[in-house]
């Protein structure tokens, strides 16, 4: 269900490094192949967000909501990515 009626955030392929999306509701957002290196996503809601090929190196994902293992497996993360408690990157 879109956050703003009729609006689904589509930032596919965007290079938005170190951007601040903390506490944003990114439900259903298309972030595929976006470069979110070093981005702040603390507390963001990632329900049904498309993270295929999304670069999340150095991104802060602490306290994100509704992030699934499948979403994380599709994204590019490294040891500098801060993951929510209890979530581990697929090896």
């Amino acid at each position: 269900m879109p956050v703003i009626e009729g609006f689904v955030l589509d930032l596919s392929g965007a290079r938005i490094r170190r951007t601040d999306l903390s506490h944003a509701n990114l439900t259903g957002a298309n972030l595929s192949h976006a470069d979110l290196t070093g981005a702040n996503l603390q507390g963001a809601n990632l329900a049904d967000a498309i993270l295929t090929g999304t670069i999340l190196c150095g991104a802060d994902l602490s306290n994100v909501k509704n992030l699934t293992k499948e979403q994380l497996a599709d994204a590019l993360v490294d040891e500098t990515t801060i993951l929510p408690t209890g979530v581990r990157a697929a090896s």
């Binding site: 956050v3 951007t19 944003a24 990114l26």
Partner: protein
């Protein structure tokens, strides 16, 4: 003779009370007519005042509607100009356009512009940042991202 004169005098007194009653009656009638006249005049006055106030109310409403249409046209013009300015080579012109669009989208009177503005600015980020290799996006992209982040957080709080 004397008696006759007295009786005549009495007779004349008796006949003179008739016209005075008539005069009093006429005075009463004229007062009544005057009072009714005043009531009618007052009613007409009230009616005229109401009609005038209704007419001036209509004028005020028409003026208000005209002002709203003028304001809306101004916003349409601002929106169109800002969209044009997003394509400018100058960063400051693009930034001005972004601030204008942000302001319009936050105005509750122009809620119908919110969605096109969000879509336009998101498309701007996608297209303009695609080839960016800097460690941090330029100020125009950062400004839009800040706006998008706020808009999506606001929506989440509602």
């Amino acid at each position: 003779m004397h008696m006759a004169a007295r009786s005549t005098s009495r007779g004349s007194v008796a006949t003179s009370s008739g016209p005075s009653d008539q005069i009093a009656y006429l005075i009463q009638v004229s007062e009544l007519v005057r009072n009714y006249g005043l009531v009618v005049a007052a009613a007409v006055g009230v009616l005229l005042a109401w009609w005038r106030s209704r007419a001036s109310n209509r004028q005020a409403i028409a003026a208000l509607q005209q002002a709203e249409v003028a304001q809306r046209n101004h916003v349409v013009e601002m929106f169109n100009r800002a969209i044009d300015q997003l394509g400018s080579e100058k960063l400051e012109v693009r930034l001005g356009a972004i601030y204008t669009l942000k302001r319009v989208s936050r105005d509750p009177h122009y809620a119908d512009y919110r969605l096109p503005i969000l879509e336009t600015l998101t498309a701007y980020v996608r297209e303009r940042s695609r080839d960016d290799t800097s460690a941090e996006p330029p100020v125009d992209i950062r400004e839009i991202m800040k706006f998008l982040s706020e808009a999506l957080s606001e929506a989440d709080r509602v």
